[in-house]
Symmetry: C2
Subunit: 206 residues, 2 copies
Amino acid sequence: MSREEVVKTARRIVDAEGVDRLTMRRLATEIGSTPMALYHHVRDKEELLVLLLDDYAARTLHRPELPAQPRERVVVAAAAIHEALAACPWIVEVLTADDLMSTSALWFVEQIVDGLVECGLTPERAVHGYRAIWYYTAGEIVVRTAATRRRAAGDRDTYRERVFADIDPGELPRLAEVAERWAPLTAENTYLDGLRALVDGLLATR
Amino acid sequence: MSREEVVKTARRIVDAEGVDRLTMRRLATEIGSTPMALYHHVRDKEELLVLLLDDYAARTLHRPELPAQPRERVVVAAAAIHEALAACPWIVEVLTADDLMSTSALWFVEQIVDGLVECGLTPERAVHGYRAIWYYTAGEIVVRTAATRRRAAGDRDTYRERVFADIDPGELPRLAEVAERWAPLTAENTYLDGLRALVDGLLATR
DNA sequence: GCAAGTTTTTATACATGTAAGAAAAATAGC
DNA sequence: GCTATTTTTCTTACATGTATAAAAACTTGC
């Protein structure tokens, strides 16, 4: 058994039956071994999932044509990461990992940092800018996938509905105004708008 | 037994011994009942955690003095939410919840949306702006707490170190340039800077 | 006051991640 | 070739969330 074999088999299970079916016992029998043997190649299940994500990134994160304009390059590179990760529905469990630091993602990080520097930021501020973009991107994916998953589980979310129904227009006029439209509004995909705003703000000289 | 008692007892356990010690069995014996009885007051453990977070928010999320200037009001309101949540170390498990929608947080959401509207955004764009701020805020907290937790667990993070050590300066010059400083740079707390940038960008008329 | 129905609680059972340590296999030194 | 040591694997066991279904307690209509 090897780490590669573990990850490869795990990937097969996840691809075929979804991340829910990936259990250490299942993985072990699939390999023809016992659960605890896995733990010599992988610290715990979380590490296995991180490896799976890296593996996924390495396979699907293809470098796009990047615009020459540095600001737009930042946007396109971030959007590419976002698109790849958002298509990966079992990601939430992993995304709390500090950073997406698989080798294959580094090129995108480089593009973002470099774009920011070319726009006039110091390297330090560029790294901070990249982090802000990563926070925004990871947050969007985590929040949105959680919402989708809950909706898929048939959760009518009566709690939210009740909270909004109880809004006093005298006290919270703006929320009362949009209460009806809250669900559809927040369901819209506005990742790109927010990303553009963030990048604009990072590059604006205050 | 009542929902309130369940939450109150859960809170006591979490406050006293941390969220790790909160198990359904422990909670049940503390109440003097059986684990499965809890499930008539709470759908599952996740819902219990969300209730705990709401309870926590209701107790600690005090309305600050807000500046008159709407843009600054948005920043201060968002920062207040961030500060309260960031101090809550067991939050990551819950924050994947779609939205922070406890009644006590609504006032802050109102301030943000209202501030954005007063700066000239339509209500729709203001809601989207609020969501962008929420993505950024939730992402920052999730990523940062995960990192802190890992560090606390004594994880030397050799993986990241290795990735950075392997960077080819010819291919990824910017990253090579900051590789040494990456850990301290990303450990800095730049939430406010990023928030200001995001708000600026949201309000800039492109 | 009591039968019918509803809500709440209990008992039992299962699948899961993984700790602890024994066993086995591979490797190194002579 | 054989022993010592290190690496890998297996056995057993436990704590956890929670499904299922039976029991108990409570509520309601008369």
